[in-house]
Symmetry: C2
Subunit: 290 residues, 2 copies
């Protein structure tokens, strides 16, 4: 990353800092939210959408975040940045409250964290060549009270992601580097990737899993749905299972940072990189370069 050498890489509450208080409820209970935003030549992609999701999550968790203050800080933070990268936002409920009880609104002082990171590099040009999708054993729990939000309780994703590591080790002889795995719920519904949402094309229609019981409502997922609609189609949001996936003509996973990766292999099935997927990829590239 070509960021200025003296750039502070992390801010806490508007000031360059590298740590948070031990009493922070983000640490104690995962009591907070985050966003991971792609920086393209220093420009945050889909910033309003990310902030809107963060704000919606803060409302649901009743964390009184000052969004205009956060926006001002982001602007200042990114002012010297002209490189590609990732901006990570985190908002916690801050310190205080005895035990699990959140502090009363008057005493609440949410903590805002900004971090600048290099854009991750993935081997094998997955956007062009596609990926094999690992079938994770880790199941996601149904919790409508937390579904959709990008909150800090992410042990399920850690467990799912660790599975890819284990398999990576097994496959060290050179078969695969698993870049993504698919997570199901306990009812065998497909929900998402470990760090992405998933779209399935079958019978000339697009499908994506409902996320009202588990999963994260991705910003790129929203973009894909809007793009498909602009192209004159609809994405059906519904229960999806392995059967739908295996009868698909195209499959892809997406997130705000890596964009859109075609899935070219799952459970012994193989697909080419699909035309409809490439059309959506093209729209994503226009967002970056438009």
């Amino acid at each position: 990353m070509a960021a200025a050498e003296n750039l502070p890489l992390t801010w806490v509450n508007g000031i360059a800092a590298g740590h948070v208080d031990l009493a922070d409820r983000g640490l104690a209970y995962g009591d907070g939210l985050f966003e991971t935003i792609r920086l393209h030549h220093g420009e945050p992609v889909w910033l309003p959408q990310h902030l809107e999701r963060l704000s919606r999550g803060a409302d649901r968790l009743q964390i009184p975040v000052d969004m205009s203050q956060l926006m001002t800080e982001i602007e200042q933070f990114l002012q010297p940045v002209s490189s590609h990268g990732v901006l990570k936002l985190m908002v916690t409920r801050g310190s205080g409250g005895r035990g699990y009880a959140p502090p009363l609104s008057d005493d609440a002082a949410p903590v805002r964290v900004l971090g600048l990171y290099p854009l991750p590099v993935y081997p094998g040009e997955p956007a062009t060549n596609g990926i094999a999708l690992f079938p994770c054993q880790t199941r996601l729990a149904h919790q409508p009270l937390l579904a959709g939000m990008k909150h800090l309780n992410r042990l399920e994703q850690v467990l799912a992601r660790a599975e890819l590591r284990g398999e990576e080790a097994n496959a060290a002889a050179g078969q695969h580097t698993w870049l993504e795995g698919v997570c199901r719920d306990y009812d065998d519904h497909i929900i998402c990737g470990t760090m992405s949402n998933i779209f399935i094309r079958a019978d000339n229609s697009w499908f994506t899993p409902r996320l009202d019981r588990c999963g994260i409502e991705g910003i790129c997922r929203r973009f894909v749905m809007d793009t498909v609609e602009r192209q004159g189609e609809q994405v059906a949001v519904q229960n999806c299972n392995d059967q739908l996936l295996l009868q698909a003509s195209e499959v892809f996973v997406c997130n705000s940072v890596f964009g859109i990766w075609p899935v070219t292999e799952f459970a012994g099935h193989r697909w080419p990189v699909g035309k409809a997927t490439q059309k959506i990829q093209q729209s994503f590239n226009e967002v970056l370069n438009g």
Copy 2:
């Protein structure tokens, strides 16, 4: 608390410190575990049991904690302490790993946090007089992969606890201070209190909810089960619902810090402080003072 004035109140990895790195996975993902241990005249109550639960959780999450190092640090940390209080242990997976993926074992450097806090003071002598139990609307999700563990993903408890706050506000006219609420799962099973386990006496037998799908396996819960067994009875671990609760002759909640609180009111039902509950309270007091 009568702790020495110059006592460092928190340690990180054996050194007095008040913060953790922003890259700590405990903050980023709730990727860690904790224990809350009662200190009686400086002595940690049920320390081996707490460490055993922590170690079991670390095994399940594959966090390579050096338990003997942790035990040595606890000993040093508590050496100057002679007061009542609470020792909080936290272990996170530490920094590192790209995204959700945990770092490989060789690179993993778990972070150990010790904290000394005053014993919470609750109004109304709840152990003697009993409490009214608030019926929380927050439901607990079934996630067997995480059930039983005292991990750092505790948003459900934060939401449940916040309900008591809301009600407290409503009841500011002086009806109640809710000290504890009961949480159910989405199948209407009673699971636990927001910060405690629950025992129900009905038909001259003790019942406590199964915790293999959600809830935390309390150290005090284990003590109660062993105590009941020593008294010649068994606790039945099973699905429990409101009906069982409402036909109970005695109910109590328990945790390692406050001990045992009789429940004397729930959903319009009232109970006296029960004899069988008092017998178990007596055993708990003997642990403290024996």
